[in-house]
Symmetry: C2
Subunit: 159 residues, 2 copies
């Protein structure tokens, strides 16, 4: 028998990743990355990133919300939200208006153009979801959504 020291170790022809593959967290991360990559391509024609699209949807669905509320809903630190809101405002997709009753806060509202872009991107996003998850049965999709909610809630409580 020949000794296998590090120096004469042959390189494996195929890399084994069984141990990682058995972890649900690992699969979750890879699936999430795959979806995000596809979503990024989906949103590119609208010049939106996932984070700007998320912000836009929340402003459209919650007219008048503050940046603090938006940051909390997106689970993003306030300082990091500033540049996102800056971008959406610069592109005239949302407006930033001082609230008369509390002049510290801004009320965020989508413009007509912002609402339109949100609708158009929303259609593309639904097609993207159908492309990725469409082959799963209705039952599998429901169970997947439930499992994901469970994981998210599990963490929330665990912190």
């Amino acid at each position: 028998m020949k000794p296998q020291t590090a120096a004469n170790m042959p390189q494996p022809a195929q890399v084994r990743d069984d141990r990682l593959g058995g972890l649900l967290g690992y699969g979750l991360r890879r699936a999430s990355n795959a979806v995000q990559a596809d979503l990024a391509e989906t949103l590119k024609p609208f010049d939106l990133r996932m984070i700007t699209y998320t912000a836009l949807v929340l402003v459209v669905d919650n007219p008048g919300l503050s940046q603090t509320q938006l940051a909390a809903a997106m689970d993003v630190e306030r300082p990091n939200l500033v540049v996102i809101v800056d971008e959406l405002e610069r592109r005239d997709l949302i407006t930033r208006d001082r609230v008369p009753t509390d002049r510290r806060t801004y009320a965020l509202t989508a413009t007509l153009a912002g609402g339109r872009l949100c609708d158009q991107a929303g259609t593309a996003v639904r097609q993207h979801e159908a492309r990725i998850f469409g082959a799963l049965s209705e039952e599998a999709r429901i169970l997947l959504a439930e499992s994901l909610r469970h994981v998210i809630a599990r963490r929330k409580g665990g912190v």
Copy 2:
């Protein structure tokens, strides 16, 4: 009826995120973030990050593999792998040995200490998985794993 202009729009008491919540990709990302946050805490006592743990596991399970092979398995660009391998080598968890038959490539092998740390961290990671996914039924876990594999494969083919 009072007109609701942006200026006098009241702030919503509660932020609606139904539209995002209905997207499986959104749930996937949030679940993945939740798991990663918990995993980061789990690996902290071992002074490992998710990416260094992943690299260590693959080296332990594939003694002698090259950095290019490792980068491909981890889906990381080679330049970004260098600092990771540097760190593991500096901590004497792996060795980097020139391959005699091709002096361009390094053969990566885990040291005894590397194998031990990998085992210890592995136990903690299994506990972390149990903490997060343990409440799901065996059937739900299998279906989740299957759905995740489907999503990953779907993207692979779609590129």
